[in-house]
């Protein structure tokens, strides 16, 4: 009995033969994958069951939503990679607005953030304005943008850019201000020029915070996109609203599904870029690997 126990402990505690590290890495990745997607799958199954039991017209089963989703967006001819015409008329305009607004907001946010963060006088001067302006929920400004810019793309892109600006701006200011003094002293000792200090020290130092701002702003951009499209005649946001008003619940849910997938993909892409650019940051915080 005691001998048996000791064998057991040694088996669980310290394996006699070190397992192949590549196999363990692959197993761990498989496990990670199962955990990540298992929960989502579980949620989907739960939705399906509840919807079948409820039989409510407002909550159709997920399989029907997915069916409709494919039908609306992915049932096109093979020469168009199975994309339907609707992709061109609704998804593409939404993407243009999203990237246009996000891009403008991000560039403005970073440029202004650097200027404010590096220049104390300018910072003190504009900071009260920033804190007032960023506190305004962008949807509240929709009517004003509407009056000033009409209902076209200019209005939507501007509104998204406005909303995106603040998280990027505040994070950039914070990031630029958190540059190590010793790094700047080191730059002075080795006589770095202004441009070199900026591009090789200030921007890299601020990049982890800037990326945090980019991630938040991406989520904000998607929200404002949908809101701005509710007064529109095209786009995914418009599709969702118009489907709901026409009691086409499957279409509505299919649109929501598109938004969810879009947000997920964009965030994953950004996270990928972030992990490449700021790999040093994670490494230096975790210490010796």
């Amino acid at each position: 009995m005691s001998a048996d126990t000791s064998v057991q402990t040694s088996w669980f505690g310290t394996p006699r033969r070190a397992p192949n590290p590549r196999t363990t890495a692959r197993l761990r990745r498989l496990k990670d994958f199962a955990i990540r997607w298992g929960a989502l799958l579980g949620l989907g199954v739960a939705w399906e069951i509840v919807a079948l039991l409820l039989r409510s017209p407002f909550f159709p089963p997920l399989t029907k939503v997915i069916d409709r989703f494919v039908q609306l967006w992915f049932s096109g001819p093979p020469e168009a990679f199975f994309l339907t015409e609707k992709v061109g008329t609704d998804l593409v305009p939404s993407l243009i607005r999203l990237f246009g607004g996000w891009g403008i907001g991000v560039i403005l946010g970073i440029v202004l953030g650097v200027a404010i963060g590096r220049n104390k006088v300018f910072g003190d001067f504009v900071e009260p304005i920033i804190h007032f302006a960023r506190a305004i929920p962008p949807p509240a400004l929709l009517p004003i943008f509407f009056i000033l810019l009409g209902i076209g793309n200019e209005m939507k892109i501007s509104l998204i850019a406005f909303a995106v600006l603040w998280p990027v701006l505040l994070n950039t200011i914070d990031g630029v201000r958190s540059v190590e003094t010793l790094h700047l002293d080191t730059a002075r000792v080795f006589e770095f020029g202004r441009a070199k200090v900026f591009f090789s020290i200030v921007l890299p130092s601020a990049s982890p915070k800037i990326f945090a701002g980019l991630r938040v702003s991406l989520a904000v951009a998607l929200i404002v996109l949908v809101i701005s499209e509710m007064t529109s005649s095209s786009g995914i946001g418009y599709n969702v609203v118009i489907a709901q008003r026409g009691f086409r619940m499957l279409d509505m849910w299919a649109g929501i599904l598109v938004l969810g997938i879009l947000g997920y993909i964009l965030n994953a892409l950004l996270a990928l870029v972030e992990s490449r650019v700021t790999r040093w940051h994670r490494g230096s915080r975790e210490g010796v690997s």
Partner: protein, 262 residues
Amino acid sequence: MTVATKDLLVIEGLGHVYEGRTRHEAIGRLDFTVPEGAFVSIVGPSGCGKTTMLRCLSGLMKPTRGTVLLEGEPVDGVPRDLALVFQDYSRSLFPWRTVAGNIAFVLPRSMEKAERQSRIDEVLDAVGLTGSADKYPWQLSGGMQQRVAIARALAYRPKILLMDEPFASVDAQTRAELEDLMLQVRDQFGMTILFVTHDIDESVYLADQVLVLSKSPSTIVAKLDVDLPRPRDQVATREDSDFVRLRSDIARMIREQSQIRK
């Protein structure tokens, strides 16, 4: 040591006062010279304004009084021929650049690729980090990180190297290794070194001359020539009777200094 050499760094009447809500006189009056090729240590009780002094000498900070001359030229801003190695290597190295990248960072952009590479190889070899060129600083131990900082300073080819308690945050074993490394690179590169430390043994072990500072407002209490034979040896030098006498003298002076009430 008796060969007549010209003075590389000349400090005359240096003093610094921090103005502010509470006026603090960090440096009283300092006059000393660092001859070309010499290894000068500065040692003093804690809070003796060592860091302030180094910042004034290196041109990072403008002193309230006095002049600093490097090769006869007044120091105004950090001079090209001077490099500084900080105590806090982890915040002086750039974590987003590899070891080789950190060194290449201080080389002029106009430098040719082959020359750049040979310069990097040379200094990495000098500090014993040949295999670590592609690692990031945070993947290295503390002692190795400070070696990278030293290599970076060497690659810059300054005439004088100022060091601000460079080995204060490494363990004793590593510290001894780094001390010997400094003596070795000094010979290899013919460098003039001004070395600030709070470690009395270290100041004697490394230097040709030790300057003992008072508490702030700091002045120079003593200038002691160290005529111990070179090459120095971690065991033999430290048991030399001259070494023991010097370190005791300095320890006594520093103890007297720290007992003085202001």
